[in-house]
């Protein structure tokens, strides 16, 4: 099972290690994790995407809540939240040419954030499936390098 969890934590050193430890001691690989300050600079928000056995994930969520440095653990379910991820992709213009790549960027609403003689770097924000689709479209151009942030997530409504 794949699961997105948001954790509000004290913005202090050592906290990230503690959170990551809970996964790694159980032999879980974290698919993605991002951390940044919230409106309250003393509190950081982590968004963690992880795969694992349901019973073990439940144990990890409980352990996360138990950490002295966490103030809130939010578990997201399909459809109850929005997720957005950022992608940076450096794509070659050698194989299929710059105009075609620029056309793809325009159609997909990706930004061109860096221009080189033989490549363009696109910046794109979207949901997981949109990113997957864009990468699919870019493949024939030859993708030189990518960086992804992993999703940030917020609950819908309220």
């Amino acid at each position: 099972m794949r699961e997105t969890i948001a954790v509000l934590v004290e913005n202090r050193f050592g906290v990230l290690a503690r959170v990551v430890d809970l996964f790694s001691t159980r032999g879980f690989n974290i698919d993605s994790l991002n951390v940044a300050e919230t409106m309250d600079p003393a509190v950081s928000r982590m968004t963690i995407v992880v795969q694992g056995d349901e019973a073990v994930l439940e144990q990890v969520r409980k352990q996360l809540s138990k950490l002295v440095d966490t103030t809130k653990v939010i578990r997201f379910f399909e459809g109850d939240h929005v997720e957005r991820e950022m992608l940076l992709a450096k794509v070659s213009t050698q194989k299929r040419g710059r105009p075609e790549l620029m056309e793809i960027a325009r159609l997909c609403r990706a930004d061109i954030v860096d221009v080189g003689e033989t490549f363009l770097t696109l910046g794109f924000m979207g949901a997981k499936d949109e990113i997957a689709r864009l990468l699919e479209l870019l493949k024939p151009f030859q993708i030189l390098e990518i960086a992804r942030t992993g999703p940030a997530a917020l609950g819908r409504g309220k």
Binding site: F13, G14, R18, K62, Q63
Partner: protein, 576 residues
């Protein structure tokens, strides 16, 4: 407030938190703390190894219910604490460990005696800190004592760089503290508690399973009232020994791998298990798929991560055992258990804990005599192995905080330093370490601490010349391949030693009697059954630390036994 050094703030915290005993060893990175320590009212005990300090703080905490404190220097001092902290963590013991660290400017440079203590201790403490600014120190100390002692208790480690100990701060030591992310649930959910009461009312074969949480929350009186009013039998985990008087007809004593037959049968047949402050460790459940298949399970625990971790729970109640039981007692309606109790009484009669009562010097006999001669009133600590299980089985526990043993981690070498800590906290008590000849050597150096500080602990070594518990497993499950479990084996032993006593050179290294004397303690050797009682009497009457070296039956096994991973139904041995 007048500025004072970090070191002074640490002493202030001891005074404010009413810490009356601290254990440890000085070194370069904590010399500033020690510079204040001998000018303070705090009783400091200089141990001979930091592991001893950590176990002593743990033993002090388990025996008194107060927070135990230990101090070690950076690097090797801190790494030596590790086993002690892990031991306290597994058994939920409130300990605050202070470690020195290299100056902040040098952290991460592989400085002399630098170890990444906060990283090393992270997974073996309830919480830990690295203090980077002396102005945070008062708050962190206050938080540490609070976190250690409340909720599910546990050890907290604070790593304090030398420059932070020296720097001045005028931040006062807080009287109260709020920790945003730390709010243990004390009161149980009333609807859940009502469900528990309903389940009890309907039960025909209920069993109470009491664990260490009952001791931590001080719920033994409430537990007693629950059991006696509802006429429900009580079994305890190793950590729960003493939560319910074993002299009571409702007592089933300990369950699990080396539990009584009747406790395990009761678990198998029960239709309701009310677990209070226990965590369903694999040593008590045996094979999970066959554990308590007939029963609904009520799980009362302050730690939500314990609930449902290994066994599925029907009625979870998150809360402090005492608070929850108090609510439960208000609405308790006793079930009809007469038939069930009759059945249990029959099991008790048919399969009591037993051993061969002949002329041989058997370890179980020694423990029964220790119990008789201390009138069941001693504080017992144990090492690990057979000695520990016999101590659990054959001493009759009637009060909480009288059985101190490394249950979760199974740390050999725990018993002697824990006894020292207990004795430091309870000067008037009789403190007895039931030891194995292997384990005792893991922290024997602490005999110096006991002798020099007039802590008259009694060490009863059940000397079988073996790493006995491992030998037992080799005998039963490894085709008697006694690979490196004989503590008497030497270079001159025959290759094909048949482990018969007659051919053994019988070297006993070390000679524990001489060893006791070398430390300034009293040493007594007992080789015959008839000398057991006089030796124990003499030990108890002696005002100094004593080692009694009982040369016991070498190949005695601990029974009954549920083989690891087996079902509680299938026990080996146990009949006389």
């Amino acid at each position: 407030m007048k500025p004072r050094s970090g070191a002074k703030v640490i002493i202030e915290s001891f005074v404010q938190e009413a810490v009356d005993a601290v254990f440890g060893i000085p070194g370069g990175a904590v010399i500033d703390i020690f510079d204040e320590l001998n000018k303070s009212p705090v009783n400091f005990y200089l141990t001979r190894h930091e592991q001893g300090a950590a176990h002593a703080a743990d033993g002090y905490a388990r025996a008194t219910g107060k927070v135990g404190v230990c101090i070690a220097t950076s690097g090797p001092g801190a790494t030596n604490l590790v086993t002690g902290l892990a031991t306290a963590n597994m058994d939920s013991v409130p300990v605050v460990a202070l470690t020195g660290q290299v100056p902040t400017s040098m952290i991460g440079n592989d400085a002399f005696q630098e170890a990444y203590t906060s990283g090393i201790t992270r997974s073996i403490t309830k919480h830990n800190y690295l203090v980077k600014d002396v102005n945070d120190l008062p708050r962190i100390l206050k938080e540490a004592f609070l976190i250690a002692a409340t909720g599910r208790p546990g050890p907290v480690a604070i790593d304090i760089p030398k420059d932070v100990q020296q720097a001045l701060t005028s931040v006062p030591y807080p009287k109260e503290i709020e920790i945003r992310g730390y709010k243990p649930t004390v009161k149980g959910h009333l609807r859940q508690i009502r469900q528990v009461a309903d389940a009890i009312k309907k039960a025909k074969k209920p069993v109470i399973l009491a664990g260490g949480g009952v001791i931590a929350s001080g719920a033994h009186k409430e537990l007693h009232e629950l059991a006696t009013r509802a006429r429900i039998p009580v079994t305890t985990t190793l950590m729960g020994l003493g939560t319910f008087p074993e002299t009571d007809p409702l007592a089933l004593k300990m369950l699990g791998m080396h539990g009584t037959a009747y406790a395990n049968y009761a678990m198998v047949e029960a239709d309701l298990i009310i677990s209070v402050g226990a965590r369903f460790d694999d040593r008590i459940t045996g094979k999970l798929s066959e554990f308590a298949v007939n029963a609904d399970i009520v799980h009362i625990d302050i730690d939500p991560t314990s609930i449902g971790k290994s066994v599925p729970v029907d009625i979870p109640v998150v809360g402090d055992a005492r608070a929850v039981l108090r609510e439960l007692l208000k609405i308790l309606e006793p079930p009809r258990t007469a038939a069930w109790l009759k059945k249990i009484a029959k099991w008790k009669k048919e399969q009591p804990l037993a051993y061969k009562d002949d002329d041989a010097l058997r370890p179980q006999y020694v423990i029964e005599q220790v119990c008789a001669l201390t009138k069941g009133d001693a504080v017992i600590t144990t090492e690990v192995g057979q000695n520990q299980m016999w101590a659990a089985q054959f001493y009759t526990y009637t009060k909480p905080r009288t059985f101190l043993s490394s249950g979760g981690l199974g740390t050999m070498g725990y018993g002697l330093p824990a006894a020292i800590g207990a004795q430091a906290g309870l000067p008037g008590a009789t403190v007895v370490d039931i030891a194995g000849d292997g384990s005792i050597q893991m922290n024997i150096q602490e005999l110096a601490t006991a002798c020099l500080n007039d802590l008259p602990v009694k060490v009863m070594i059940l000397n079988n010349g073996y790493l006995g518990m491992v030998r037992q497993w080799q005998e039963l499950f490894y085709a008697e391949n006694y690979s490196f479990t004989c503590l008497r084996r030497g270079k001159d032993c025959p290759e094909d030693c048949d482990h018969s006593f007659e051919n053994c050179p019988k070297r006993a290294i070390p000679d524990f009697v001489k060893l006791a004397e070398a430390y300034g303690a009293v040493g007594i050797r007992v080789t015959k059954k008839k000398d057991v009682v006089p030796a124990i009497k003499k030990a108890l009457a002696t005002k100094k630390p004593v080692i009694v070296d009982f040369i016991v039956e070498r190949e005695e096994n601990v029974y009954p036994m549920v083989p690891s991973g087996g079902s509680l139904k299938h026990m080996m041995g146990g009949m006389a």
